[in-house]
Each structure stands twice: as structure tokens, then as C-alpha cells.
Subunit: 182 residues, 2 copies
């Protein structure tokens, strides 16, 4: 692959992340191209369909979160680690959830995104289990439920322009409900 091609690919991904974050998932491919400083044809050469572009953006984002989760899985304090993870997912994912919605709306869920989501699920699972074994998280909560909660918080946060006292408070309530009963 030529160096200019690789550079453009990188520029497109970065632009897609910005544009979809600001304009929402229905932003046009042409807007992404404009922001990246390339022609539309270049975008389509790298990502044959719009779904491919969205998928690539999502996978990149998910893998970031996976790395973060794996670090937290070996952190000294399992309880705060779980809290950190939830907060990070909500705040960093806020702009990306609309993308996931677009993907969900498509008839077929692309395998690449599904794989990345699975990796993230597993990493979150590890953090949760560790907190449960340390006795600082309810044992009757499954990853599915935690995932559901995080997804919900993230989606609600995405509606707001900036993380606010309200979203922080809501996260606090959930973390409190997640904590082991005293």
C-alpha cells in the first residue's frame, strides 16, 4: 500500500469520527470527505459502502475501550476499577452510540463490529467478576445487565453536548445500585 493511501485512510477515519460525533449517524459521506480534505471517491475506495466506514470507526473505538478495560482488570482496587470503567465507557462513548444505532438499523450486523463488541464484552466481564469476587459488587448482576446499563447511560449522555453534573449523578446512582449490599 502506498504511503499516501495509508495517510488518506487515516485522515478519513479521523474525520468520520468527528463528523458522526457532531452531526449524528445520518451525516453524509460527502461531509466526511470534505472534512478529511479528500474527494468522495477516495472514501469509497477505502470503504466500499457507508456501513464499512461506520464499522471501521466503531471497531477502532471499541478496541480503545478494550485496552482500557484490560488495564483495569489488573488494577489494585477492583471496586474503583469497575467505577472507572463505567465512567470511561459512558464519557468516551457518548458520541459513538449513534453510530451503533445506525449499524443496528442495517439489516445485517457486520461481523467485524460484532467481533469487537464481543471482545469488549469479555473485557468488561473480567472487571466485573473481579469486583464481585472481592465482595464489592452485587453477585446477582450479569455482564448482560451491566452492558445494558452502560449502553443506556451512554445513549442518554450522547443526547447531551457535554458530560454534566446530571450525567455524573446518574452514573453515581447506577454504581450505587451495583455495589454490594451493606
Amino acid at each position: 500500500m502506498r504511503v499516501d493511501a495509508r495517510l488518506n485512510r487515516e485522515r478519513i477515519l479521523t474525520a468520520a469520527e468527528e463528523v458522526f460525533g457532531e452531526l449524528g449517524a445520518q451525516a453524509s459521506t460527502e461531509e466526511v470527505a470534505r472534512r478529511a480534505g479528500v474527494g468522495v471517491a477516495t472514501v469509497f475506495r477505502h470503504f466500499p459502502t457507508k456501513t464499512d466506514l461506520v464499522e471501521a470507526t466503531l471497531v477502532r473505538h471499541f478496541d480503545d475501550l478494550v485496552a482500557h478495560a484490560r488495564t483495569l482488570a489488573t488494577a489494585p482496587a477492583p471496586g474503583p476499577a469497575l467505577g472507572d470503567l463505567v465512567t470511561a465507557m459512558v464519557e468516551r462513548g457518548a458520541t459513538k452510540v449513534t453510530l451503533a444505532n445506525l449499524l443496528g438499523a442495517a439489516d445485517q450486523v457486520p461481523s467485524g463490529a460484532a467481533d469487537a463488541a464481543q471482545r469488549l464484552r469479555d473485557a468488561v466481564d473480567a472487571v466485573l467478576r473481579r469486583a464481585q469476587e472481592a465482595g464489592v459488587a452485587r453477585r446477582d448482576v450479569s455482564v448482560d445487565e451491566l452492558y445494558f446499563l452502560v449502553r443506556g447511560l451512554t445513549q442518554a449522555a450522547a443526547a447531551l453536548p457535554v458530560p454534566t453534573a446530571v450525567s455524573r449523578g446518574a452514573v453515581a446512582v447506577v454504581l450505587d445500585g451495583l455495589a454490594a449490599k451493606r
Copy 2:
């Protein structure tokens, strides 16, 4: 207004509720017309823009919830009433939230929907305050946060068909976090 016009209006609203619930917010107006058994022109005569149609559907749904909330505001047990309300909003609203997203994406938030949302907020506020005064809900939670949580849970439930057990579990966690500390 002629009786056939009123009947058609009713049919259109019902169809819109179904279609947007099943196909998502980006479903076409023509699909709504087909489902209602009328021509597209009829839909546009009753609701000049698609936004108007979405708004009308939302207002109807919100007002249903407002009625429910007002009933619960005078229920004998304030704690379970709050739980009931949250559950009802999440489960009944699941198909409707995508509509709210579409509205939010539009440049202008129609005043009608904003008013209905305000009425709902006030009704929920009443139920929450009553639970707090009865000492069964945390006092450091505001309506804003509760609303945020419900919105998130509903959106997550709407996004993809989730097993009821999972959404119920997640709601339980939130309600637990909402309960007064022991």
C-alpha cells in the same frame, strides 16, 4: 371537520405508531400511508411535514405516560409507585424513543413535543418527591437525574430486542441505587 377526515387522522396516527416502532424513526411516510390504508397526500394534509407526524405521535405517547404518572402520584405506597412508574416508562416507551432521537436531530425542537415532555417531567417529579418525603428514595437525586436514567434505559431497551430478564434486572439495579440508603 368531516367525520371521514377525523377517522383517517386516527388511522394515520395508529399506523405511525406501529411503523415507527417496527421500522425505526427513518421509516418513510409512504410506509405509514400504506399501513393506514390511505394515500400519502392524505398523510401530508393532516401533518404538513414528517416532523409534525412524529411530534403528534410523541405527544400522544407522552400524554399517556402523564396520565399514568398522575395516578401513581396518589397511590398508597410511594416507594412501589416510583418503581412502577420507572418500569412502565421503560417498557412502554421502548419503541418510541427512536422517534425522540429523530426529533432531537432536527434543528428545531417542535414546541408541542417540548410542552408534552415538560408535563411528563412535572408528573414524574411529583412521584419522586413523594417517595423522597416518605423516606424511601434518596434525597440527593433530582428529577433531572431520574429522567436521564429512564431515558437511557428506555433507549437501550429500544435499540435491540433484549431479553426481558436483562432489562428487568437492569431496572432493578437502578431502583436499588435510587432507594434510600439503609
